[in-house]
């Protein structure tokens, strides 16, 4: 594989990582910890929203993030022809 293509592939990979990890940080450390008191003034059924993110929502988002990453990377691998 050419060096310039390798660099491009890696750059796109890093961009995905940055976006996904930002969401990862936001739902757990952001919604579940730092902003928990503000979000707790909003209700989601019987849950206070901040509490829900800390004990439920963040975990669901984590699972979704990994599967989104799998999809994105499989596509990227195909695009650069580095899939197996």
């Amino acid at each position: 594989m050419e060096t310039s293509l390798r660099k491009k592939y890696w750059k796109e990979n890093l961009r995905y990582l940055a976006i996904l990890l930002f969401i990862w940080f936001l739902v757990s450390y952001g919604f579940g910890i730092l902003l928990v008191d503000e979000l707790n003034t909003i209700r989601l059924g019987g849950f206070k929203l901040g509490f829900w993110f800390a004990q439920q929502g963040s975990i669901y988002v984590f699972v979704i993030l990994i599967f989104v990453y799998v999809r994105l990377m499989n596509k990227l691998d195909k695009k650069y022809n580095v899939n197996e």
Binding site: Y29, F51, V63, V70
Partner: protein, 591 residues
């Protein structure tokens, strides 16, 4: 049939199953012994990773910890799941592409240094041993609780079973028994949870149930908050830890999870890079089923407890209360002699456990010799949250037996995974890589098997004679993994410039400062114990959360030192280029 008979039958069947799988999946080469031949499907690896990860503490303990700490318990929920995102995105695919057997393999090759390898081996052994001691103890405790045997006898039985499949099958045997163990433990966890959810709210899905309303139309969480604040507790949905501390503990658990060798090693067993990514997703999905149910169980159990006991005369208490009182997990002292139970904030006893005398009190309760001088009269062991569930829900005896089998599956699967890391570290990282590089595959396999035996014996010894600091070692294991492996591996992949000097200095600095902090503020081995309270913590960070700081120190030291020392050699930079590209992982495996 009685609970005892059912327990013998169900535990017997599951053990026969595990041993059967072990015989079927014997390992014939070191590759099979270390990484199950590299041919495990992503789904099977996801199941195995989930069982590997969820220990007796997750199965029996976590719901209880959350029930008695409310919002503060979120650190475990987010911390022990969020690490998988880091694993999937930052570590697993690249380590799989690297294609060797162990974490010290990667550290040693990437940093072209046997010193780095040795530091990694020591850290891996230390983390795994501290962790496994607790697991063997857990096996013993589960046995003693359900089968009425001594804790030590339980440890011996557990050792025999683990030894059998770890010795015969290595990673291959462990992987497929873990798949079976996951099925047993998740079934055992979910069935009582679903029934309790229906009882409490009419909703069969616990995750939704604890956000719904009970028969009286009041939302369950609002009711619980009300019950607790009325009695002077902090509201369930509010925390009492500082935001900084919650932040740091959550981060330390996440980073530690991503750096634990027995978790990382599981991703070496799948055929391709894309399988490593996918199986991390499956693993978290299977873990999330239990981890999103646990907080629901916690709320049901805590509400039930508060409603049942508060101001209830001892003579009218339900039978599960007196049954668990007999086992010592509940203790009541009638401090104001009104015959009723007062459940208030503060510990009802002096010390950690109630010390029962042989006598009975005026209401027929078991008397204890160490009541405290608070007004709270009730001691409840947190483990009861999961243990008492089936009885509180009035479920049949065979389900209670199933919970026993589930607890054992959780403890055994984690112990086996850890023992494999220990035996691999000894036979592969120490003997093969350092002392006897020329030994044949057959001989190495034999050494691996013998190391597994040795590891089981040492772990069993610690299970029977737990070191005094066992309760604190989980903090230590996660802190050390977060401050050593995680930064070293991440920089090894994402920075081509990171060199031997930087990585070694970083690991030693991170390990050093974290060990110091825990020894100083948690174990009380160094410094004046008078000045090791929460007021003296640096930046208000508890010892459980200090691994995060250790990781930052590791990164900072490594980046600084690497600036002033020579760049890594050309062939090492080539390794980094190579692991970033997924194709060709299959060929890289045979080396």
């Amino acid at each position: 049939m009685g609970i005892q008979t059912w327990t013998f039958i169900i535990v017997g069947i599951t053990f026969a199953l595990y041993i059967g799988i072990a015989i079927w999946s014997r390992a014939a080469s070191t590759k099979e012994f270390y990484v199950a031949g590299g041919g495990v499907s992503p789904l099977a690896n996801g199941l195995a990773t989930a069982a590997d990860w969820m220990s007796a503490a997750s199965f029996l303990g976590m719901a209880g910890i959350i029930a008695f700490s409310g919002y503060d318990g979120s650190v475990y929920l987010m911390g022990w799941t969020g690490g998988y995102v880091l694993l999937a995105l930052l570590l697993a695919p690249y380590l799989r592409k690297f294609g060797k057997f162990t974490v010290p393999d990667f550290i040693g090759d990437r940093y072209y240094s046997n010193v780095a390898r040795t530091v990694a081996v020591i850290a891996a052994l230390f983390v795994s041993f501290t962790y496994v001691a607790g697991q063997m103890r857990g096996v013993g405790v589960v046995f003693s609780r359900f089968l009425d045997v001594e804790v030590n006898t339980g440890v011996y039985i557990g050792m025999t079973v683990v030894l059998f499949y770890a010795f015969l099958g290595g990673m291959k045997g462990i992987t497929y028994t873990q798949v079976a163990q996951y099925c047993v433990l998740i079934f055992a966890f979910m069935v009582p949870a679903i029934f309790i959810s229906i009882m409490a709210t009419g909703n069969p899905i616990p995750q939704l149930g604890f956000g719904s309303a009970g028969e009286d139309g009041v939302f369950l969480l609002d009711k619980l908050d009300g019950l607790m604040t009325d009695l002077g507790f902090t509201a369930y949905t509010d925390g009492s830890k500082s935001i900084t501390d919650v932040f740091f503990i959550t981060a330390a658990l996440m980073l530690g999870t991503a750096g634990l060798p027995h978790v990382i090693i599981r991703f070496f067993t799948v055929p391709k890079v894309r399988d490593a990514r996918k199986s991390a997703g499956y693993a978290l999905l299977f873990i999330a089923i239990l981890y999103t149910t646990a907080p629901a169980i916690a709320v049901f159990a805590r509400t039930n407890l508060m409603e049942t006991v508060e101001d209830t005369p001892y003579s009218e208490i339900p039978s599960w209360f007196t049954k668990w009182e007999e086992t010592g997990l509940i203790a009541w002292t009638d401090k104001n002699e009104d015959g009723k139970i007062q459940y208030l904030p503060g510990s009802s006893i002096d010390g950690k456990k109630p010390l029962f005398t042989e006598e009975r009190g005026a209401s027929g309760e078991r008397l204890i010799s160490n009541p405290s001088n608070t007004r709270n009269e009730l001691y409840v062991d947190r483990d009861i949250t999961v243990l008492a569930n089936p009885e509180i829900a009035g479920l049949p005896n065979w389900i209670i037996a199933l919970v026993a089998a589930g607890g054992l599956a959780a403890a055994l699967s984690t112990a086996a995974g850890l023992l494999l890391v220990i035996s691999t570290s000894i036979s592969h990282d120490l003997i093969k890589k350092q002392f006897a590089p020329d030994i044949s595959d057959k001989k190495e396999l034999l050494i691996a098997r013998l190391s597994a035996v040795l590891a089981v014996i040492v772990a069993g010894y610690f299970g029977i004679n737990p070191p005094g600091f066992v309760a604190s070692v989980v903090a230590l294991a996660f802190g050390l993994a977060a401050s050593s492996f995680f930064p070293a591996i991440v920089m090894g992949i994402f920075s081509k410039r990171m060199n031997r000097e930087g990585a070694i200095a970083g690991m030693i600095a991170g390990l050093g400062i974290t060990t110091y902090y825990i020894a100083r503020f948690k174990l009380g081995w160094i410094g004046n114990p008078e000045t090791s309270g929460p007021d003296d913590w640096w930046f208000g960070i508890s010892p459980e959360g200090f691994g995060t700081m250790g990781m930052l120190v590791n990164f900072a030291v490594a980046l600084l030192i690497s600036r002033f020392t020579a760049a890594p050699p050309e062939e090492v930079q080539q390794i980094v280029e190579d692991i970033r590209i997924p194709s060709g992982a299959g060929e890289a495996l045979d080396h």
